[in-house]
């Protein structure tokens, strides 16, 4: 079956103002809204569109994380994914572990395409997609802003520092998504009801034969230094004066 695997991550919602805990051991997550990582939502939307165009028959969504991640998997099912895979893992899941777990799912599911967001907005690592592609020994196209899939290849437009780069890649492959690839659909209430009946399988890292290694110790979280409050000027002339005084003109 022509299948797309989409990796998603549960993160603190995009709109939440992040606060560092007073004891510097993390950021405040109690009572904070959690969501599907926005870049992963774009990845899922793209997978659904490919399926709707007839380019795939099934969209499977997967995550690696604690029990609460099921909420985000249900959201993904409500968006339109056909089934979900939850690899249960507690504590910090480093990108190498996430990629290793996804590789095991790839071996089981044999997808023609794996789609993920280019980075998660919590740890801003931006590693999992590339690591998966490396371990799988398959092509990667990161930062995709356009994706055209044929039976055996894909043409991907990537947002790079120089502008837009186009690559041709053989399938199967890993593609990570950038902001302008698409605008994800809103979930409708009937779809949320329907999603409750869709299959959601739970697996453990041990079942997959993946070791839950944590190699990087998170020592301390701090709020970033604040900039000093500046001055207000009333017009262009005062602005130019102020810049001259600072030696900037």
């Amino acid at each position: 079956m022509k299948r797309i695997l989409v990796g998603i991550k549960r993160v603190v919602d995009y709109n939440v103002r992040i606060r560092v805990k007073p004891d510097n051991t993390g950021v405040v997550t109690d009572g904070v809204k959690m969501s599907v990582n926005p870049f992963d939502e774009i990845a899922l939307e793209e997978a659904l569109r490919i399926k709707e165009r007839g380019g795939a028959e099934e969209v499977v969504v997967a995550t690696v994380g604690p029990a609460e991640c099921q909420q985000q998997l249900r959201t993904a099912l409500a968006m339109g994914a056909d089934r979900a895979l939850h690899v249960v893992a507690d504590g910090i899941v480093e990108p190498l572990v996430a990629a290793r777990a996804l590789l095991k799912l790839v071996e089981r599911e044999q997808p023609l395409l794996v789609l993920l967001g280019k980075q998660a907005i919590d740890d801003d690592n931006g590693q999992t997609g590339q690591m998966l592609a490396a371990m799988w020994n398959r092509p990667q196209a990161t930062y995709a802003s356009k994706l055209e899939v044929t039976d055996t290849t894909a043409r991907v437009t990537r947002e790079v520092d120089a502008g837009l780069e186009t690559l041709d890649i053989d399938l199967p492959a890993v593609v990570t998504t950038d902001l302008r690839l698409n605008e994800p659909r809103y979930v409708k209430l009937p779809d949320i009801m329907k999603a409750k009946k869709k299959p959601l399988d739970t697996l453990s890292l041990a079942e997959l034969g993946v070791e839950p290694r944590q190699q990087l110790k998170l020592v301390r979280f701090e709020a970033p230094p604040q900039r000093q409050k500046g001055i207000r000027v009333k017009d262009a002339a005062e602005l130019v004066e102020a810049l001259k005084k600072k030696g900037l003109l």
């Binding site: 480093e94 190498l96 990667q140 947002e159 502008g163 701090e222 017009d235």
Partner: protein, 314 residues
Amino acid sequence: MSTQILIVAEHDGKTLNLSTAKCVTCARGLAEAQVTVAVFAASAAAVAEQAAKLTGVNRVLTIENPANEHALAAVLAPQVAALAAPFGLLLGPSTTFGKDLMARVAGLLDAPQLSDISAIESATRFRRPIFAGNAILTVDTTGVAKLVGTVRTASFEAAGAGGPAPIEKAAVEVALPTHTRFVSVSAAKNDRPDLQTAARVISGGRALGSADGFKILYSLADKLKAAVGASRAAVDAGYAPNEMQVGQTGKIIAPELYVAIGISGAIQHLTGIKDARTIVAINKDGEAPIFEVADIGLVGDLFQVVPEIERLIS
């Protein structure tokens, strides 16, 4: 961890990208660092010569192969991995080039990666921003035999001229994949300074109203010899191309002067400019969050203020 550090050079085939000189400064933050710069190219001589002249570089390796003409991560990563044995730390810049490549290298080596390193505290302590810069994380890497990292270029000065360090050809015996093929890169050519390295940057937001509206910015930028950037909203609206985007998912910059025009200042934008020396904000909404970080703020109509500034400095 060995103090041998490998830096993968970013370049366009002719010119070494300034981001590499910033990686060198980052690497030099480690005591007793021995810094090797690797240049992967179809023909590497010109770029290698520039890398060899950076102060703090001990050695430059050139890996020449027609397959290295375009920097494809799938092609470069196995070559970087093949060179990795003697090195305790492998660094690339936190640009789209380095972010794409280094995590693939880390995957091949089964080595953990630190993204966006903003400071080195010791051989095993690094700092990096997370949550779009809303928190700074200190990470301890004790026990890690081989570490991969990307360097947040806005956090480091570029290494100056020195050397020259010796240049050696390296032979890499590794099969290269053909499953990933370069087709094209499209970038608007202009004579303005490069956004990532410019001393002055003028950025526009959605308030510019159209691609045409950006013309008053280009005009002022040319007077100031400034690069032009844009907010995500302006890029999404099609007023400016993607390579101009500044922010969490665009470019992270640290110019001497940053002028934000018609930009409200979403946190994702602010994370891209917080290292600017002086921030100027021009916005008609006096409550806009950009004013919380601005050194100089002006509440007014940008379509009157911007041409007026240009007239005053002409």
